[in-house]
Amino acid sequence: MSSIRIKAKERKGVVDVKTLMKHKMETGLRKGKDGKKIPEHWIQEVSAESGGKVVFVAALNTSISKDPYLSFKFVGKKGDPIKISWKDSKGATDSAETIVK
């Protein structure tokens, strides 16, 4: 199962995208049970593309809440594909794709 959930709905030519990405978003400030700080580990970049065009790119800090939520709007239509990808501070990546409703 992808770590990314996407909801994309078109209304009057504008697509409203909501995405939730499952990720711990460790700040590096939290202490574990052993009293040692848990190393930081977070999603650094999120990008979205639709039909070969980048529609949204964001760079995130550790201060974005656990399981980051992002929402944005772009000009598009029902049936367009939308693909969202992330890359984290350890270089891991994931992506998911859906069709605009």
Binding site: V14, T27, L29, Q44, E45, S47, E49, G52, K53, V54, V55, F56, V57, A58, A59, L60, N61, T62, S63, I64, S65, K66, P68, Y69, L70, S71, F72, K73, F74, V75, K83, S85, K87, T93, S95
Partner: protein
């Protein structure tokens, strides 16, 4: 990563997508994100920290955060935005997020952020190299049953 490079990178990515199956990412602006001050972080990000408060930037954030770990924040602007950033002044590193707004994408960004204590939250909109802002103080209370 200043505004131009993030845009360039985005453009490059769009081209790369035609040939590459996986999306490439731009270089992460480590210096801006690890910065401890709002002004110097803005400098790293946009090459300037001269900001102008503007009614055309709308920032929606609660007066009192229900929980500092999950504070919904929404920025929208009627300006022609190149990018939108959110700064949380009292956090160890104020810059929370910067989003690129390519043509065809609305000047709007919604997310959820963490804040350790009561702080000023500032939405920064970069439009044509000028920085416009809207700010709001969000109270973070600790204690009771839910904090």
């Amino acid at each position: 990563m200043n505004r131009r490079s993030i845009l360039k990178a985005a453009g490059a990515m769009a081209i790369a997508l035609i040939t590459l199956p996986r999306m490439a990412f731009a270089a992460y602006a480590e210096k801006a994100f690890k910065n401890k001050e709002v002004d110097s972080s803005l400098n790293e990000l946009f090459g300037s920290n001269a900001t102008t408060p503007s009614d055309e930037v709308k920032l929606k954030a609660p007066d009192i955060a229900e929980n500092g770990a999950v504070v919904p924040v929404e920025v929208s602007t009627s300006l022609n935005a190149d990018s939108i950033a959110i700064m949380i002044k009292e956090n160890p590193n104020p810059l929370a997020i910067v989003a690129d707004i390519p043509p065809g994408t609305e000047g709007k960004l919604k997310t959820r952020v963490r804040m350790g204590k009561t702080t000023l939250v500032t939405a920064v909109v970069n439009s044509g190299g000028k920085l416009y802002t809207a700010s709001k103080e969000v109270k973070v209370t600790i204690g009771g049953c839910g904090g």
